[in-house]
């Protein structure tokens, strides 16, 4: 990092089905909460970065940078980032660059998504935009289908059983019970996961994160200090289509971003106390713990089978918190800060990816009062 960047404030809406809230009202709610939490005034914000993937497809709304800025009295400059489900991490990365360059001293990052207004077919087609329209979509593949391919191959290579895979979503649901901002605050047994309807073999309904509405905002600053420092911000990319990958049971972009982020923060996977990772599908959680270096290839499930000094998706993850796609990457940092404050531990990491990790983003937070 070329500057000392502090996370000074955060706020979010509860994720869920918000038919009475628009993109604008969701953003407004999260932004107001973040400003109050930061103890600054709106006028202190000198840049706004908005993360959003589906504004055009689900709300006929582009131009979200200005829309977010217009919620502030002084209309600061603004931009929007889009990198499918990694839009949030990319927005944070862009904000980091603005702060490091000195162009801005306090930046508001807001991730927002509205997915439940429109029929399922439409939102499924829009999400498929995260895959390759020329190489993946013509076969009739859907996004759950992409991860169905990953899961079939993973089970083939590592002998993971359906019974073991059930544990992942079940664990996320148990974690979400204590999270007031989660969409689904109910425990679900592994058996119930295994008995839910098939969506894309071998993945079932309860392996998949839901469609959700929601917004999450946080304020990063080089001017005002706080108890939480942003210790690393790394983005890496890969071929959009699975057909252009050497392997589909590990994601190169996650591995590269993790390596860079650990180097930037000068720590290793063993130093972490809390991790929020991108479990858009249960199988993605297993691939991700391996890519982050928390488990050996094929051994990710061990982390879910045993209690450990490390918490993974203590918030409930995408599965139980809900996954308003571009808000997720921002919301993960809010949860990491909360967990670090509670446990008084030093290091936490958020891992967010888009598509089948064609973009991966990693952010590491340091609790300075550890």
């Amino acid at each position: 990092m070329n500057a000392d960047i502090f996370l000074i404030g955060a706020g979010q809406t509860r994720f869920g089905e918000w038919w009475d809230k628009s993109l604008r009202t969701l953003m407004d709610e999260a932004i107001s909460a973040a400003i109050t939490d930061a103890g600054v005034t709106a006028l202190d914000i000198d840049f706004v970065v908005v993360a959003n993937m589906l504004g055009e497809a689900t709300c006929d709304q582009a131009h979200l940078g200005s829309m977010a800025a217009s919620l502030l009295p002084h209309r600061p400059p603004a931009l929007r980032t889009e990198a499918a489900c990694a839009s949030g991490a990319v927005a944070l990365h862009a904000a980091t660059a603005l702060l490091e360059s000195g162009r801005a001293e306090t930046v508001l990052v807001v991730g927002v998504e509205k997915m439940t207004d429109v029929p399922n077919d439409l939102v499924a087609a829009a999400l498929m935009g995260a895959a390759d329209a020329e190489r993946d979509a013509p076969s009739g593949l859907t996004f759950p289908g992409v991860f169905g391919l990953v899961a079939t191959r993973y089970m083939h290579e590592y002998g993971l059983t359906r019974e073991k895979l059930n544990i992942v979503s079940s664990r996320h649901h148990v974690n979400a019970v204590s999270n007031p901002n989660a969409q689904f605050r109910m425990a679900i047994s592994p058996e119930a996961v295994g008995a839910s309807p098939l969506v894309a073999d071998p993945l079932r309904l309860l392996d998949c994160s839901p469609v959700s509405d929601g917004a999450a905002a946080l304020i990063l600053s080089t001017k005002k200090e706080s108890d939480t420092r942003l210790a690393a911000s790394a983005i890496s990319t890969d071929a959009v289509s699975l057909t252009e990958r050497q392997t589909i049971t590990s994601f190169a972009a996650s591995r590269t971003a993790a390596m860079q982020a650990f180097a930037e923060a000068s720590i290793g996977p063993r130093d972490l106390s809390h991790v929020e990772l991108h479990d858009c599908f249960s199988i993605a959680a297993l691939v991700s713990v391996e890519d982050l270096g928390l488990a050996d290839p094929g051994m990710g499930i061990h982390l879910y089978e045993s209690e450990d000094h490390l918490t993974v998706n203590a918030s409930g993850g995408l599965k139980a918190c809900g996954h308003p796609v571009a808000a997720t990457g921002v919301k993960q940092l809010i949860d990491i800060r909360k967990q670090l404050r509670q446990s008084k531990k030093q290091w936490g990491l958020a891992h967010n990816f888009g598509g089948a990790a064609a973009t991966a983003g990693i952010h590491i937070l340091e609790n300075l009062h550890a």
């Binding site: 498929m128 013509p138 076969s139 191959r153 969506v199």
Partner: protein
């Protein structure tokens, strides 16, 4: 999916490349197909085609349960009819055999260098295998071309045309090609035993290839086994690249003017190959400075060693 005539026409040009047999790498049953597709569940596979490219396509299962490693045949099928009554055809892949095919075991990595004559493949290989000799070794080339004083020791195994054909027939060669020439009949090939011997020593075999050899090696060992690097002459256009090659061929003094003419003709074909068959290359390196190229390849070798 938006199927407008221009995008459908563009897509159709891809179909020719997709009409190849292949092997199942993974599959899934999509229970809720996207809007516009027939509503029944679709079995979709990730396939490796015989030229090493990968595609996703509909599997025609014929009631056979798909298995990873199974062999499939391409069939052009009506995929869907759009609201404008445009009929969209897509290659689908049919499982023809009942029994699961034995999994091809991953044999190990091979580093392949491809480039037009005169670009410096032999020099680069010699320098590379000398500096990382503990990890990589050159595979001797079986050839019918006459020995020359300038050949590196152990670079070639010289055989007669009859001996070469015998080796080819017996299946001892994993790849063989003849390079058109007016001056002599030139066959080149690699023996499976030489490659296996290098693997047995725990090293990575380094092969010098051209398009025929590269395609055959990739078919035999699987595209995944081959780290394929293309070596290009410096120059921004085809013309400057060719003139750089001509200059090198003349200055190294190994070839007669007549054979140089042959080589230049082949070089033109080779440069087109880089453009048309991009998917066969993992890295393209420009041989502007020998040290840079060798260092970059060293890095790739060390990555494979770690893998």
């Amino acid at each position: 999916m938006h199927d407008f005539p221009p995008s459908a026409a563009r897509r159709a040009t891809e179909h020719r490349k997709m009409m190849q047999e292949g092997t199942i790498l993974s599959f899934t049953v999509v229970h809720h197909p996207p809007e516009g597709f027939p509503t029944e569940p679709r079995t979709i596979a990730l396939l490796e085609l015989s030229d090493g490219t990968r595609v996703t396509g509909l599997l025609v299962t014929n009631g056979i349960t798909p298995v990873i490693g199974q062999h499939v045949q391409p069939r052009m099928r009506l995929s869907r009819i759009t609201s404008e009554k445009l009929r969209i055809y897509e290659p689908a892949y049919e499982i023809t055999e009942q029994k699961p095919v034995e999994q091809k075991v991953f044999p190990g990595y091979i580093l392949a260098l491809t480039g037009p004559s005169g670009v410096g493949k032999s020099t680069v290989t010699a320098r590379l295998t000398r500096s990382v000799g503990r990890f990589a070794a050159p595979v001797p080339i079986v050839t019918t071309r006459k020995a020359k004083d300038t050949d590196e020791k152990g670079e070639y195994i010289h055989v007669s045309a009859e001996e070469f054909m015998d080796l080819k027939k017996s299946g001892a060669l994993v790849a063989a090609t003849d390079i058109p020439s007016k001056t002599e009949q030139r066959w080149y090939g690699y023996r499976a035993s030489d490659i296996a011997a290098i693997w047995a020593k725990g090293k990575i075999p380094v092969v010098i290839t051209e398009m025929g050899l590269l395609q055959e090696l990739s078919r035999h060992y699987g595209r995944r086994s081959i780290l394929s690097c293309g070596l290009l002459p410096p120059g921004r256009s085809k013309r400057t690249m060719l003139s750089a090659l001509l200059h090198r061929l003349r200055s190294r003094g190994r070839d007669t003017e007549e054979s140089i003419e042959d080589r230049m003709k082949n070089a033109e074909r080779d440069l087109a190959f880089f453009r048309d068959q991009k998917e066969l290359f993992d890295h393209l390196l420009v041989n502007e400075d020998l040290d840079t190229v060798v260092n970059s390849l060293k890095g790739h070798v060390m990555e494979l060693v770690k893998a």
